[in-house]
């Protein structure tokens, strides 16, 4: 891309309401720093405190999902031992509503289980999400899960509309997964 292309890229992002976007290797320290500036921007922008908390919460869950579950990982992780994985995270505003979108590669074998899980969550109303969250939080973590198994439910609970998601086949038994939540 030429410098003009980068300017177009920047303008296109701005026109789409993007406040912050990151694409590349994500570590816990990247998460912390991006989260810090996101909170600062929302404070400066006089965002309603409850909305700001929801946006931050969805941002943290999505960023930690990238770090833990992206199929595109940096071998060995960061010097402190935590994971470093490639992905994308975008926070923006569309028609007065904040959104947080994230994306990362997943093994092809995980596409259908993840799709089934997200379809189920996206089809639930707030009461059903709350009941499902309470059920899951009491159970031992699922196999392959590094966190609480409840991050996706937490995202859906903080969202003001059903979460949107999709996949694109990258070949070589990988797909790119994207999840978008409106707050």
């Amino acid at each position: 891309m030429s410098p003009q292309d980068f300017i177009s890229f920047h303008n296109a992002s701005r026109q789409s309401g993007v406040i912050m976007s990151f694409s590349g290797d994500v570590s816990e320290k990247v998460l912390f720093s991006l989260g810090e500036v996101l909170r600062f921007r929302m404070t400066q922008g006089a965002t309603d405190a409850s909305i700001a908390k929801r946006v931050f919460s969805v941002f943290v869950e999505q960023a930690q999902n990238i770090i833990r579950y992206s199929a595109d990982r940096v071998a060995g992780g960061s010097p402190d031992g935590s994971g470093v994985s490639a992905g994308m995270i975008v926070v923006g505003m569309e028609e007065g509503r904040f959104f947080v979108a994230c994306g990362n590669e997943v093994p092809q074998a995980q596409v259908e289980p993840l799709r089934a899980r997200l379809s189920r969550i996206a089809g639930m109303n707030q009461d059903e999400l709350k009941a499902y969250y309470r059920e899951k939080i009491r159970q031992p973590a699922e196999e392959g899960s590094l966190g609480g198994s409840i991050g996706l439910i937490e995202i859906a609970r903080r969202a003001s509309a059903p979460v949107e998601f999709d996949f694109r086949d990258l070949g070589a038994h990988r797909s790119f997964f994207c999840l978008k939540a409106y707050i």
């Binding site: 405190a49 908390k53 929801r54 869950e61 935590s82 939080i137 966190g147």
Partner: protein, 127 residues
Amino acid sequence: MDRISIAGTERTPEVDFDFPQGRLKLGGESYPEDAAAFFGPLQQALAAFLENRERGPLTFEIALTYFNSSSAKALMNMFMLLDDAAAGGAAVTVRWLHAADDDTIQEAGEDFAADFEHARFELVEQP
């Protein structure tokens, strides 16, 4: 069981588990890089304490301003230990502190309250 005191950081809570006094406290922000590594030893200490403790009231005060889902899972594990201890006759009180204008933390407290069958759970609004 010795007292466990850990200073809070920008993303890990301040911990004061004063086992000899029966007063446990957790406060601040909680989204550790590795929630299992942070909370695991605390859960183990709590379980060991509840197993061997002498009779006496136990109070657990939580004053978190934000916690991620991995931290919520760890809290739930500790709450289940406490509720089991209360079922066995221990006088357990859980105090969930939230700022008056913090709906998110208040709602989280209400959710947790519903999971206690034996321990006393207090939702405490802070001015």
